[in-house]
């Protein structure tokens, strides 16, 4: 453990939420709180650095490797720094039937980046994701907890303009 790792800590408000999350599971089963805590950590830091993962591991009294193997398995966790807004774009079949590929090309062109990249101003990161369970409202993308559905070029323009402010 280095000095910098020790500086990683939840805000007092999140620390309280974290303890509540751990308490939801039966005694001795605190490892169950790993996914909820990783979400909470990503909410605070934007992505999961090794230091943050180590911190979560210490909170749950589990080995660091137990955190890494989980964080790398689930696609929602960002293991590298990301921009302010992470656009998670659905690339799966039903969205594609509704013109999802065309809108995706437009979005990439508009932002000037490819999947996995971040804009130079650090505002947007683009990620491709699989089905978001909103197939009747496709094309769809998600930014944090918000779903943006029935996307058109105009809608994409509006959303990007709004978030660029």
């Amino acid at each position: 453990m280095t000095e910098t790792q020790n500086t990683v800590e939840f805000t007092p408000e999140r620390l309280k939420i974290a303890q509540e999350m751990i308490d939801r599971y039966p005694a001795e089963r605190q490892k169950s709180a790993l996914l909820p805590l990783l979400h909470l950590a990503q909410e605070q830091w934007g992505w999961l650095s090794p230091e943050v993962m180590d911190y979560v591991g210490r909170m749950l009294s589990i080995q660091a490797i137990e955190v890494y193997e989980v964080a790398t398995f689930y696609t929602m966790f960002h293991l590298d720094p990301v921009g302010k807004h992470v656009i998670e774009y659905c690339r799966t079949g039903p969205c594609c039937l509704m013109g999802g590929e065309e809108i995706y090309d437009y979005l990439k062109q508009k932002l000037g980046i490819q999947a996995g990249e971040t804009t130079a101003d650090q505002k947007f990161t683009l990620k491709e994701v699989e089905c978001l369970a909103a197939c009747g409202m496709g094309p769809v993308f998600q930014i944090r907890e918000q779903y943006y559905m029935n996307l058109t070029r105009d809608k994409v323009d509006e959303i990007i303009a709004e978030l660029s402010r």
Binding site: P26, E66, F77, G93, C135
Partner: protein, 446 residues
């Protein structure tokens, strides 16, 4: 055929709140079950109802409940599978978002039946906003005395915990879900032992889909026989269908099982028909993993009789001429859809979502994606078509969990019914790789 069980009050303003839900008769099933019925009595009604697992497998829920082991002094768990991730399926998302108390009430009734004092709702992590809706509903139900210690003075205690996933289709498989709930990677477990004996924390556990659990309240209020009287034969009750693709009215619809496929597809009450100026080409009736059907096999069985929206009728003819009801993810394709491109897309999905434990699935899904990619991009050879069939066959049935089958069926069925289209991509690469190019050869359209 307009019977509504789950979505009857969906359009009542404020139905997402406890007060409005309660005024529409909500939580009467909890009162009835806890005050007047034994847990065994509740299980009996659900068995009589014959309701089948609505997540896709279609296994009778009451029977699953009756398999639950009950050793002395060991906690039992109910876990709701709200990890809805099967492409084409968005019904649980819709139900939880719009009428969360229906799931909470079902969870209380079901937990009481199983003797569980702590139950979990595992929701896919992308639906964090729905998790917040469910947590609010739980707090309201608790304030009203339907959750917590000594519910309605009965001595029965229940706590509900909503747990977020992390983005992994595989966690919809029940043992992968349990691993994930324990804070691990979502690797499915070898079975036996089944979760009913050793599930969450190695304790007896029942895992049921959102829609299945949501039926419990109606069954308790109206009786298992009344539920069994709806629908046709072993396809009892109603089913939520997620309709998407090239139709006029995409959305979530509750149908009485037994509605003809043709009616569901063309009636203004439901899909409203194919979008103007276009024709039906293909259908995936039950989520991306079930076999795709060509137009001539969708509304009619091989013997010419109408095909119905039931487990039995959709699977009539086996995989040669039939498919499956699955999760009810009803994806409609018109003549502008390229079957090769869609099959490649689905294959990429399964390759991405394979957990990597079993080599036939880990390697096979990758090979299928790669071969389909080269056919779609104009570099395929005729041999590739048979290669795909061979790889699909070698995955099917050779893995711990059904993801392998789910990856193999879309490929095998697309080739079975649309072989011409694959061949055209191989023989006409220049034409087939033009943007939006679709095979226009001889093909049945409706």
């Amino acid at each position: 055929m307009g019977k509504k069980i789950l979505l009857e009050h969906i359009n009542v303003p404020g139905i997402e709140t406890y007060d409005v839900y309660r005024k529409q008769g909500g939580y009467t099933a909890v009162e009835k079950a806890i005050k007047t019925m034994s847990p065994e009595g509740v299980v009996e009604e659900v068995k009589k109802a014959g309701v089948r697992g609505r997540g896709g497998a279609g296994f009778p829920m009451g029977m699953k409940w009756s398999f639950l082991a009950k050793p002395e002094g060991v906690p039992r768990y109910l876990v709701c599978n709200a990890d809805e991730s099967e492409p084409g399926t968005f019904k649980d998302h819709y139900l939880m978002k719009n009428i969360p108390h229906l799931l909470i009430e079902g969870m209380i009734v079901s937990s009481y039946a199983l003797g569980a004092n702590k139950s979990f709702i595992y929701v896919r992590g992308e639906l964090m906003y729905v998790i917040r809706i469910l947590e609010k509903a739980i707090a309201e139900a608790k304030a009203a005395g339907f959750l917590g210690k000594n519910i309605l003075g009965s001595g029965y205690d229940l706590e509900l915990v909503v747990h977020p996933g992390g983005g992994a289709y595989i966690c919809g498989e029940e043992t992968a879900l349990l691993e994930s709930l324990e804070g691990k990677r979502g690797n499915p477990r070898n079975k036996p032992p089944f979760p009913a004996v050793k599930g969450l924390y190695q304790c007896p556990t029942v895992v049921n889909n959102v829609e299945s659990i949501a039926t419990a309240s109606w069954i308790i209020n109206n009786g298992g026989d009344a539920y069994a009287a709806i629908g046709i034969g072993r396809s009892s009750g109603t089913k939520l269908i997620s309709a998407s693709g090239h139709i006029k009215k995409p959305g979530v619809y509750e149908i009485e099982l037994g509605v003809p496929v043709e009616e569901f597809l063309y009636s203004d009450e439901w899909c409203g028909g194919i979008r103007d100026g276009h024709h039906l080409k293909a259908l995936v009736a039950g989520g991306s993993s079930v076999p795709i059907l060509p137009a001539n096999l969708i509304t009619k069985l091989a013997n010419g009789e109408p095909r119905l929206m039931t487990y039995e009728s959709l699977s009539d003819g086996g995989f040669q001429t039939g498919t499956m009801l699955g999760s009810g993810g009803f994806i409609v394709f018109d003549e502008t859809a390229c079957i090769v491109r869609n099959t490649w897309n689905f294959s990429r999905f399964y390759h991405h979502e394979s957990c990597g434990q079993c080599s036939p699935c880990r390697e096979g899904t990758g090979w299928m994606e790669k071969v389909l990619h080269r056919i779609e991009h104009g570099h395929g050879s005729m041999h590739d078509i048979d290669l795909l069939v061979d790889v699909a066959k070698k995955i099917e049935g050779n893995t711990i969990c059904p993801l392998g089958d789910a990856a193999a069926w879309p490929v095998a069925s697309a080739i079975r019914h649309f072989r011409d289209e694959f061949e055209w991509h191989i023989t006409h690469p220049a034409e087939a790789t033009q943007p939006g190019a679709v095979f226009k050869g001889e093909m049945a359209l409706v």
